[in-house]
Symmetry: C2
Subunit: 320 residues, 2 copies
Amino acid sequence: MEHNYSDLRVVALAGGVGGARLAYGLTQLISPGNFSVIVNTGDDFEHLGLSICPDLDTVLYTLAEIEQPQAGWGIADDTHECLDFLKQMGAPDWFQLGDRDLAVHLQRSAWLRNGIRLTEVTASLAVALGVKTVILPMSDQPCRTMVLTDQGEMDFQTYFVKHGWQPRLLGLAWQGSDMAVMTGEAQQAIQQADLVVICPSNPFVSIDPILNLPGMRTAVQQRPCVAVSPIIGGKAVKGPAGKMFTELGVQPSALAVAEHYRSLVRAFVLDEVDSGMIADVERLGMRAFAIPTWMKTREERVSVAAGVLSCAQGLLSRGV
Amino acid sequence: MEHNYSDLRVVALAGGVGGARLAYGLTQLISPGNFSVIVNTGDDFEHLGLSICPDLDTVLYTLAEIEQPQAGWGIADDTHECLDFLKQMGAPDWFQLGDRDLAVHLQRSAWLRNGIRLTEVTASLAVALGVKTVILPMSDQPCRTMVLTDQGEMDFQTYFVKHGWQPRLLGLAWQGSDMAVMTGEAQQAIQQADLVVICPSNPFVSIDPILNLPGMRTAVQQRPCVAVSPIIGGKAVKGPAGKMFTELGVQPSALAVAEHYRSLVRAFVLDEVDSGMIADVERLGMRAFAIPTWMKTREERVSVAAGVLSCAQGLLSRGV
């Protein structure tokens, strides 16, 4: 059965690679004016004086179809002349900076330094890269994820990139959370949405930073919301989500993710390999669906997006 | 007659390419600990949030033997991936930013933003690039050359690069000159110098910004000083010096340069093609010498430097 989703107003909440990939799929099904992606900025950091927004960049590059196909982040076929020379000069080189990637960081940093809001900066970068989808940072104020570990407290990029997410997670905190608010654009997008999609991103460090902004969780609760599990067969597709569940004392599984989003989502999509968990997930008070959720190719991203929209159909007040 | 200049304490005042080339020649004749180059920072500017110091970079790259051999500035065989992508994104691209060059701007900007003085930043960059010579910015405070032209007032890089020094020069001014002072390092280097060499740089926009700092002209006047003409056969070797003389109502010539430095220098070196001007220059109250002054190859730079030191011999209180 073919559906036409072009009139559906959808907001996706996304972190990095997994979120960007599902968002890409959704852009192929929904009219650009009806689709917004609200992106985690908890990973943002300053490096060599540059304002770097890893998740926003991953979403930007993926929607612009210029992302590194294997890694999922960074720009395809980028060179590293600047980074190599920085390294030669003894500068820190643990954070990958492609030469083209650097152009985005430079332009963003220059605009931010001129007092332009991150929301507007991101919109201008999207235009410059030919992206029509509305990409919204969750906040214009910094709200940085701090990771409390057995090796001390560290900012997210230090934990994630410099230490390769090896330190043991003890807890999370957000620096700036007393000042950070969701943007007017994000608020409006959610209020007007027919459906909110929580992408298969890390619940702790990609989605929670968005949901923890004042008023955000309540705003999402008031809309039909579907979440997609980033855990398949007990393992994270990418990154530390599985390891984080374990370190927080929870067996990593799609069910654990559903539990994490309990009382927020009305439908939950898990991978077909986890279909045995459907009954358990439904006992949490949400509908559950098993579909293929791997999104390596662009085609897979579109078919997963179509699957997710199809699963969410029953939540919508009006037919599509 | 071969001289050993290794014990001579020399300070060079330099702008960009011509200054960097003579400075390079001098490094091959004088012990690193005895030689300092004080460099014009009037050209410095902010671009895409980066602190760019064109003359310091040219001197750094030339002394590190990594300068573009033809242009004399920038890094040899540098790529432009970042700049090309910036251009693609609609960012200003009139200022050349090589990818490796960018690494230097990024590192410098990050250090400056951390409150480190430009003098120390420059010393660290020199170490990183393997340069043993002491390279000193004229000041740690910005003192920016503003060019008054028939097309309005503009900062130096806008005049020089963006408009290709085509607007007609009406006058010059220095933004920040009320706050800028010479550094302690520059002052000490001059006080301890056996000889000050004014390099063949643009008198108006490379050397005057240095000499105009409070106390600098007097400090130089108290030391034996030799200047080298950047005008050969009535034309500037590079850049707008000749055009500037004309627009200020003076026929460009080595003699006009000598006149410009009257009461400051005790010896003046002009190119052999201008040897007919020796008597006129000496009437200004300085000794004059004609030698070959073209410095394309590294060998020529060393032989010109040796020639300049030889001409200055008579000024020195002690024999060398």
